[in-house]
């Protein structure tokens, strides 16, 4: 190989590693320092012939991008990422023919699949910008012209009358562009690109802002895509797990399977992890019932039950155990005198992520000790670290391959969704690949949930009805238990459960104020978050209890529902229209703009709540409308819900939901609309239907009849209004805000329709009837 022929654009380093008879490429690789910091990981588990580059330019003019993020239906990886790279690099959208995602041995950056348009998109934009600058240097040298005379557009570099395609420029060469990065792939946040290569001004964008289609949809629709549940390996066996009888049960004796009926089935016991394995999946499914019936567990009771949950949180939890988290917007004296005060307690139950497909993985532990797990994870590199810890191995020995799978909305952004570690442990035990498919009840009862929360809100008004003070105390368990449950059951090493001693901030038990403050016109603000431990976890002999994990708009949803619902009630106390009341108290002009747009687009009827027709007694249907507002990740969101309440049955129907979003730069209007529509409907589902049922021992929501979600017949008319502001120059985020906005708008609409406040979700008939009667729901 020739000595590297090096040029240095910005702080990236381009080197020519050699000349090739055929092909040729420019690949963008991790900064040298970082590669060394990652020690063996970079050299042993990454195929040197397939460098885990961010961006690759090939001699045939195709461009590949690689990202450790995965797609869960957001589309961003296949649309926004392509668009942003094409834009910054100077190639067409179509030139990017491949997006390699997720696999820990084939992608460079790691980190969780969240904030896709925030830090992660910036990584790719910077990598593309470094690449463009390097290409311009190469072309200037080739043409022997000043660099300022060279430009790159649509994959063609031109200098005056001369031009060359990117493919031609890299043909016959083996070029490496090394860009500076910090962090490790297996860190929670992954690797970040350093430095500040010149980024194109949004005003020049030609690709960002257009409605490109999502390239992963055709192979899903024509049936050619391999989903996680479709992975088959030679010699693979199927497993079903018998999870403990309660969230605190220890194994007394493992049961048996009927050897006559199920001749190939075997029972495997590792600590409190009990499973049946068989080469035949249906045999495993049948045999697991008998095994579960004959396995004996210790009894355990340590949970309040969902009916007593709020009372438990209010009276039994010691909120002094965890340091209180003050809000960033706290100012003035929230105890200042007010003419009138609205005070209320607001409650959110536990919710399930509830993917349509229960978690499924294939573990493959080879005789040489190498481990591959085939799964569907939002943070494959972090999962790799968790599995290595469980096995007492180096991360170098573990590879996580990812596939399309059912959306699970945050459950695996800390790595695991449930089945991965069980598959690995069973594979190690059997010496062959093992596929673990959780059944519906496993997924409902043994996965993590979105935490419960409650808040006491006080809003003080002056004589004229303006807010003089806002005080909020939010209380709830933490939302990031990343311990793999199979490792916990097997008694193998895991990270610590969430708690104040956990070294990683996200795994602490603090309840930080996540709902960005938006009412800048209020002088006196006091928000505090009070945390605790996961319910039942410390009491559970197996350290399980109710494990929690972030779910769409985590913590912000739990804090925004109380704030926005209370704001609508305070508006009524001030005899003001709820939308106008917000206009009068928001600080930023961008909020005013989306509220005015919402008023117009939603058919908002300006008047104070409750509606003149409001009533809570008698028969028939009453109607109302409500509004909610949120700032999340630089996205400005407003929502109006129109609902009908059947007073006899207690059935609440959402008839129309209108959402206005100003995300700043809109990358792809079509995909944003689809995400926001879907987010809105998931939000309606949470507001009307969803609550995890549990008793003193465990979760009693076991299927879709005991954890009902919205059906198509119940869907409202959905309207999404996109109000771009490219001039602000940043990328606001997608659909999850839409999902959180629905509940407070619907609760406010219920109040408008009936005159009775709705201070909890879901608005199921049994709770609605209590609300209508003025009883605690």
């Amino acid at each position: 190989m020739n000595a590297p022929d090096t040029v240095q654009p910005v702080s990236a380093v381009l080197s020519r590693r050699g000349f090739l008879a055929a092909g040729g490429s420019l690949v963008v690789v991790l900064g040298l320092e970082s590669v060394q910091a990652q020690s063996k990981a970079a050299s042993t588990s990454l195929d040197a012939k397939q460098p885990a580059s961010w961006i690759e330019i090939h001699a045939d003019n195709t461009v590949w991008i690689r990202t450790g993020k995965c797609d869960f239906g957001q589309s961003s990886i296949f649309t926004a990422y392509r668009q942003a790279v094409a834009e910054e690099l100077g190639v067409t959208f179509e030139a990017i023919t491949e997006v390699v995602t997720g696999d820990t041995d084939r992608t460079p950056d790691g980190g969780g699949t969240f904030g896709l348009l925030r830090t992660n998109l910036l990584n790719l934009r910077k990598a593309a910008a470094y690449t463009r600058e390097a290409v311009l240097d190469l072309a200037a040298a080739k043409f022997s012209v000043p660099r300022s005379d060279v430009k790159l557009e649509d994959g063609v570099v031109t200098a005056g009358a001369r031009s060359i395609t990117l493919g031609e420029l890299v043909a016959g060469q083996d070029l490496r562009l090394t860009i500076p990065v910090s962090g490790r792939a297996t860190d929670f946040m992954g690797v970040q690109v350093q430095g500040n290569p010149p980024l194109k001004p949004p005003s020049s964008y030609r690709i960002v802002g257009k409605s490109y289609r999502n390239s992963i949809i055709p192979p899903k629709i024509d049936g050619t895509l391999t989903w996680v549940g479709d992975v088959k390996l030679p010699g693979m066996w199927h497993a079903r797990v018998v999870h403990p009888r309660t969230l605190g049960s220890k194994l007394v004796t493992a049961g048996t399977v009927d050897a006559k009926a199920y001749p190939t089935a075997r029972v495997v016991v590792i600590g409190n992890l009990v499973a049946v394995v068989s080469p035949n999946e249906w045999e495993a499914v049948q045999a697991v019932s008998g095994l579960a019936g004959t396995t004996r567990w210790s009894d355990w009771k340590g949970l309040p039950g969902h009916g007593k949950l709020l009372d438990h949180l209010q009276r039994k939890v010691d909120w002094k155990e965890i340091e209180v988290a003050p809000g960033a917007a706290n100012k003035g004296d929230a105890g200042v005198a007010s003419a009138r005060t609205h005070a209320g307690t607001y409650f959110m139950p536990y919710l399930k992520h509830a993917p349509i497909g229960p978690t499924v993985s294939v573990g493959d532990v080879k005789p040489d000790g190498s481990v591959t797990v085939h799964t569907h994870s939002q943070n494959p590199q972090y999962l790799r670290g968790l599995l290595a810890k469980m096995l007492g191995k180096s991360e170098d020995d573990v590879v996580v391959r990812t596939y399309a799978g059912p959306g699970h909305y945050g459950r695996s952004n800390g790595g695991n969704a449930g089945s991965e570690d069980e598959a690995v442990l069973l594979s190690r035990e059997l010496g062959r690949p093992v596929r673990v498919q959780w059944m519906r009840a496993d997924d409902m009862q043994w996965s993590t949930q979105s935490s419960t929360s409650y808040a006491d809100i006080r809003i003080g008004l002056d004589e004229s009805g303006r807010i003089v003070s806002y005080k909020a105390d939010h209380r709830g368990p933490p939302m990031q238990d990343d311990r793999p449950i199979g490792a916990v059951l097997a008694g193998l090493p895991t990270i610590e459960p969430p708690g104040p001693k956990n070294p990683f901030p996200l795994h602490g038990a603090r309840n930080n104020i996540a709902d960005r403050w938006i009412y800048g016109a209020i002088d006196n603000v006091s928000e505090h978050g009070h945390g605790t431990f996961q319910l039942g976890q410390r009491e559970s002999p197996i350290a399980v209890g109710l494990r929690d994990h972030s779910m769409r708009t985590p913590a912000q949803f739990q804090q925004n529902f109380p704030r926005e619902t209370a704001m609508s009630e305070a508006a009524a106390l001030a005899r003001a229209d709820a939308l106008q009341f917000r206009l009068d108290h928001v600080g930023e002009e961008r909020f005013k703009a989306i509220l005015l747009r919402l008023r117009e687009e939603s058919g908002w009827n300006t008047r104070p709540s409750p509606a003149p027709t409001a009533r809570a007694a008698g028969k028939g249907v009453v109607r109302g409308r409500g509004v909610s507002l949120m700032l999340r990740d630089n996205g400005y969101w407003a929502c109006a819900a129109h609902v009908a309440v059947d007073l006899s049955t207690g059935v609440v129907k959402v008839e129309r939901i209108t959402t206005v979003v100003d995300p700043g730069i809109v990358v792809n209007p079509l995909q944003l609309r689809r995400q926001a529509e879907a987010g809105s409907l998931m939000g309606v589902s949470e507001a009307l239907r969803e609550e995890v049922a549990f008793d003193e021992s465990g979760i009693t929501s076991v299927d879709w009849s005991t954890y009902p979600i919205l059906t198509m017949g119940e869907m409202p008319e959905v309207k999404i209004v996109i109000a771009p502001r490219p001039e602000v120059g940043n990328y606001g985020q997608g659909s999850e805000s839409a999902n959180a906005l629905a509940a407070p708008a619907i609760a406010a609409a219920f109040f408008d329709a009936t005159g009775k406040p709705a201070r909890r979700i879901p608005l199921r008939p049994e709770y609605v009837k209590a609300m209508l009667a003025g009883r605690p729901a």
């Binding site: 239906g73 509830a354 349509i356 229960p358 519906r440 299927d703 879709w704 059906t711 198509m712 999902n739």
Partner: protein
């Protein structure tokens, strides 16, 4: 041992007669679009057509299939080609109008439920080529053993997809 007709092909099956069709399709026959969602006929992720009628493969024993033809999403293009009597050349590479509509309208979010959704909408359009939105909602909510569930909330997109599919069916038939 029995033989079942799947997507136009006669397939020999070794599984015992009580085995649910879903496991036979996926594990023995390599027909992967019917997905495991609940195993309880509560979600529709495993839906297939049995002589044109939507059933839940997770609770349908192969003994109940008999001589009826099983159609999955893999078989929708050929089903359409045969219904339209398309010549083999134009049939190859042609998707069923429901599949094409699902791409045109960018219907899926995660997409795990969409195989069952497309099967159900295919069944609907074969009986009612110009459904109202209420017809589509009823088909996907009340007509089967359970509603077809989408957790991502793609119902608005599904409505648009179904209407687009109806247009494509009408265009296809007009040829």
């Amino acid at each position: 041992m029995q033989t079942i007709l799947v997507n136009g092909e006669s397939r020999r099956v070794e599984a015992s007669p009580e085995t649910p069709l879903l496991y036979v399709l996926r594990n023995e026959l390599g027909v992967m679009t019917p997905k495991f969602g609940c195993g309880l006929a509560q979600c529709g992720a495993c839906s297939v057509l049995l002589d044109g009628q939507e059933v839940r493969a997770c609770v349908t024993p192969i003994a109940a299939v008999g001589a009826k033809e099983v159609t999955t999403v893999e078989g929708l293009p050929a089903r359409w080609a045969s219904q339209q009597k398309l010549p083999a050349a134009s049939a190859a590479g042609t998707l069923h109008p429901v599949q094409q509509a699902w791409i045109d309208e960018q219907v899926p979010q995660c997409g795990i439920c969409q195989y069952g959704m497309m099967i159900k909408v295919t069944e609907l359009l074969e009986h009612n080529p110009k459904p109202s939105n209420e017809d589509v909602k009823a088909a996907l909510t009340t007509s089967g053993p359970s509603p077809h569930l989408c957790r991502c909330g793609s119902y608005a997109a599904i409505l648009e997809g179904a209407q687009r599919a109806a247009q494509l069916v009408a265009q296809g038939r007009g040829k």
